[in-house]
Amino acid sequence: MSSVNGAVPTTIIVAGLALAGYALLMTALNRRMSVILLGALGVLEILLLVEVGIIVAKLAGGTHPASLPTLIGYLIAMPLVPVAAGFWGLLERTRWGPAVIAVAGLVAAVLMVRLHQIWPIIHV
């Protein structure tokens, strides 16, 4: 039941790194927050929510990882990352707004790797 679902985490890693790269470029070019960045952040949020749904479905299927509390912590924290970054980045009217978004992209990618470490049936 598991290996099919590797596509979503992989997509999140690619999307997160792409977002981080684009956001850092905007910082380097001294640009402020843009609609494009917010849209990309929204896409990342949707992907993360899909991944949360997939994991919850796996948990509902009866299996669970060695450290269930850690996984639940991740399920709660994951969807908050783009929201918090968007909020905090929008408060900033300089190049450092996109820099905050870059962090969110990197964190999303790292979270996928950590998820796999917490529960190896979540493929990357």
């Binding site: 001294n30 402020r32 509390p69 905090w88 300089t94 450092w96 707004g97 820099a99 962090v103």
Partner: protein
């Protein structure tokens, strides 16, 4: 459409340690405050006897990160002073615990944020307090220049 900021200089004048580059700093500090405290909470609640020293240090690190995040985000003169102390403690902590974890791995069967100088977190825990202190020093100087 995004347009270039009017000027890269203090045009978008930073009015607190939470603005400008501080926005990024507070974001990363907040991230570590959250992940360190969640990790410490899970470790202490579920398996404290397994590695008590490591878990107490995890909790201490979490407290330091929370304090640094809040004080950098507040940015008042008093908060800046507390932030300098917490960033210094953090730097000392990551150096001390990093060395300790390498010298005496038996005490650390499970990792803390600061084990191996933060190697499990891409060494960000080692770099973060340095940037924090540099950023705070700029503010201390600016405050001194405006009062003296």
């Amino acid at each position: 459409m995004s347009e270039p900021a009017a000027s890269s200089e203090p045009a978008a004048r930073a009015d607190s340690t939470r603005t400008g580059p501080g926005r990024l700093l507070v974001a990363v500090y907040g991230l570590f405050a959250l992940s360190a405290s969640a990790r410490a909470a899970v470790q202490i609640a579920t398996k404290f006897g397994h590695a008590p020293v490591a878990y107490v240090l995890s909790a201490f690190a979490a407290a330091v990160y929370i304090l640094a995040t809040v004080t950098l985000a507040v940015g008042s003169p008093v908060a800046r002073r507390i932030a300098i102390v917490s960033c210094s403690v953090e730097l000392a902590g990551v150096l001390a615990v990093g060395t300790w974890s390498l010298a005496d791995p038996a005490t650390f069967p499970d990792a803390t944020v600061w084990s191996g100088y933060g190697s499990g977190y891409g060494f960000v825990p080692l770099v973060l307090p340095v940037f924090g202190l540099l950023w705070l020093r700029r503010w201390t100087r600016r405050a001194r220049a405006s009062t003296g």
